[in-house]
């Protein structure tokens, strides 16, 4: 999506997560619309989490397979809102590679299983409620008499008025099938007074038939169940507890992440408030911030603007490499990036970008970390990249150690043009030559991390 604004990837993923969360909530509400208290089931939350994670994973996968770029604002919104259509192949220009769209089917089958599990759980909840009530009432003859009185009242009400009062569309057929109060009383009396359980079941069936919808409220009003039980069972108390419990856990995780990680504070300071002063460099050198930029720097299909932002960060960190902890942070940041140069399959554009970055942040202090790694990367199997690394070493030598090589030595270094048919023995000679030069150059410089930040490495 070349016409889309290019934004930092953490914003893109945040947009995908937030919009995806809203879409997930609506999808779960639609999919489980049959269950009024759907949020009281962990299975519903499982579905919600799966639907929330899906667009984030899909967004990463589409970026990884170069279908979109993860710094594209429009792509982020499109994937977050329309990931189900993407799986169905309904969005032109965003096509899932290979057979990956087939993953949607097992996911849907899992959703159907969750639906079934919720129905089973719901039935179990209802049964458990009745069993508890059964135990409570059948073990107390006073409560049993009270239930009989309540049932008689409501049976009279149900038989006396057309049931359509609450449900006008319903014909009175169900009323015909109800027992009359006399029949119920007769059946109750016919049951042995010791058979409490049977008596309860008889009353319960008649009561549920007479009051199929409002039975919970009537039980509560008549003090046959506690206010807590009423809230828990009939006022979606369980759903409230689970919802607020999970929300609290979520907020706690975000807070812990915020306190433990310097990343959110760094993003706020550097990009929201626009301040990138020296005071924020310790935040910027936080582990999570560095891991983020390492990911961006090592990414093969990063956009030009994203690469620019990552390079700005490296330059920002280079400005503080004069301090010992700053140098350690810089080394921590750049070591995997430089190690990638040793890989034979590293694309030449990427190698050019990385070596250009190393040259633009050079200083004797930083060289102490980068040059030894570059010398080792001369072993790469890719002769073109070996040449690029060699030329970078030449540039660094001329910039920071101009007097470290005699004219003859410099000429000899310049004359080396790595070739595809070069033997390992030849490479070993040049690695040894560069290592020897570096040992003497470093000895004469005595650069240490206690010196002031270099002027040319400021962002």
């Amino acid at each position: 999506m070349p016409s889309s604004p290019d934004i930092p990837a953490y914003y893109s993923y945040l947009i995908v997560a937030l919009v995806g969360g809203v879409v997930a909530r609506s999808t779960v509400n639609d999919g489980l619309a049959a269950y009024p208290d759907r949020w009281s089931f962990f299975a519903a939350w499982q579905l919600f989490l799966a639907y929330s994670a899906l667009p984030v994973l899909l967004f990463w996968f589409l970026d990884y397979s170069s279908v979109i770029q993860d710094t594209s604002l429009f792509a982020a919104v499109l994937v977050a809102a329309g990931y189900q259509t993407i799986f169905a192949g309904g969005i032109q220009g965003i096509t899932l590679p290979g057979e990956s769209a087939g993953l949607w089917k097992p996911f849907q089958a899992w959703v159907a299983r969750i639906n079934d599990r919720i129905a089973t759980k719901q039935k179990a909840y209802l049964d458990r409620f009745v069993r508890k009530l059964e135990l409570k009432i059948s073990s107390d003859s006073e409560l049993l008499d009270k239930l009989l009185k309540v049932v008689m009242e409501h049976l009279q009400g149900a038989t006396a008025k057309p049931q359509g009062a609450a449900k006008p569309e319903v014909p009175a057929k169900s009323v015909e099938s109800l027992q009359t109060t006399e029949q119920l009383q007769a059946a109750f009396n016919a049951t042995s007074p010791e058979a409490h359980l049977q008596r309860f079941r008889l009353l319960w069936r008649a009561f549920r038939t007479a009051e199929p919808i409002n039975y919970g409220y009537i039980l509560y009003r008549e003090s046959l169940i506690s206010p807590f039980r009423y809230w828990w069972q009939f006022r979606q108390g369980l759903a409230d507890v689970i919802t607020y419990g999970l929300l609290s856990i979520g907020v706690a995780i975000v807070l812990v992440f915020y306190v433990e990680s310097s990343f959110p504070a760094y993003v706020l300071d550097r990009f929201v408030f626009g301040s990138a002063s020296g005071a924020t460099w310790t935040q910027a050198s936080g582990d999570s911030v560095m891991r983020y930029y390492q990911w961006r720097l090592r990414k093969l299909n990063a956009s030009d603007k994203d690469t620019f932002r990552s390079h700005e960060y490296v330059k920002f960190m280079a400005a503080y490499a004069g301090k010992c902890d700053g140098l350690a942070a810089f080394d921590h940041l750049m070591s995997p990036v430089i190690e990638d140069l040793c890989f034979s399959g590293e694309p030449s554009k990427k190698v050019d970008d990385d070596l250009g970055l190393i040259i633009s942040t050079h200083s004797p202090v930083i060289n102490a970390k980068t040059i030894p790694r570059l010398i080792q990367c001369l072993w790469t199997d890719d002769a073109d990249n070996r040449l690029r690394i060699h030329q970078t070493l030449m540039a660094l030598q001329q910039a920071d150690y101009p007097k470290s090589l005699s004219q003859t030595e410099a000429g000899a270094f310049k004359s080396w043009v790595p070739g595809k048919d070069e033997k390992p023995g030849d490479v070993a000679i040049w690695v040894r030559n560069w290592s020897g030069w570096w040992a003497s150059a470093q000895a004469s410089q005595k650069a240490s991390c206690f010196s002031a930040p270099s002027a040319n490495s400021k962002p």
């Binding site: 089973t120 719901q122 209802l126 449900k167 169900s174 199929p212």
Partner: protein, 83 residues
């Protein structure tokens, strides 16, 4: 081709189209006796209505009945076409 259902079965589908319910609620809203509800549920294919519980007149009130969301549109069309 759309399946043909009895008026009782269509009333059950109509009630369950609103929300999942227990048998007592369905009987009350659809105006059915336990026997009629059992017979209607036996007529409706299991992939259309999920039944959790026993399909006998004495126990059908305690059964939990669900119309899954993926068949709701189809069930609604059956109910509408019969109206």
């Amino acid at each position: 081709m759309a399946q043909k259902f009895s008026p009782e079965a269509l009333r059950v589908l109509n009630v369950l189209g609103e929300e999942a319910s227990d048998g007592y609620t369905v009987m009350s809203k659809a105006g059915l006796t336990p026997e009629e509800l059992v017979s209607a549920l036996k007529e409706i294919p299991t992939n259309l209505v999920m039944v959790k519980g026993e399909l006998i007149p004495d126990r059908v009130g305690d059964a939990y009945l669900v119309l899954p969301s993926n068949v709701r549109a189809y069930a609604n069309s059956l109910v509408r076409s019969s109206a």
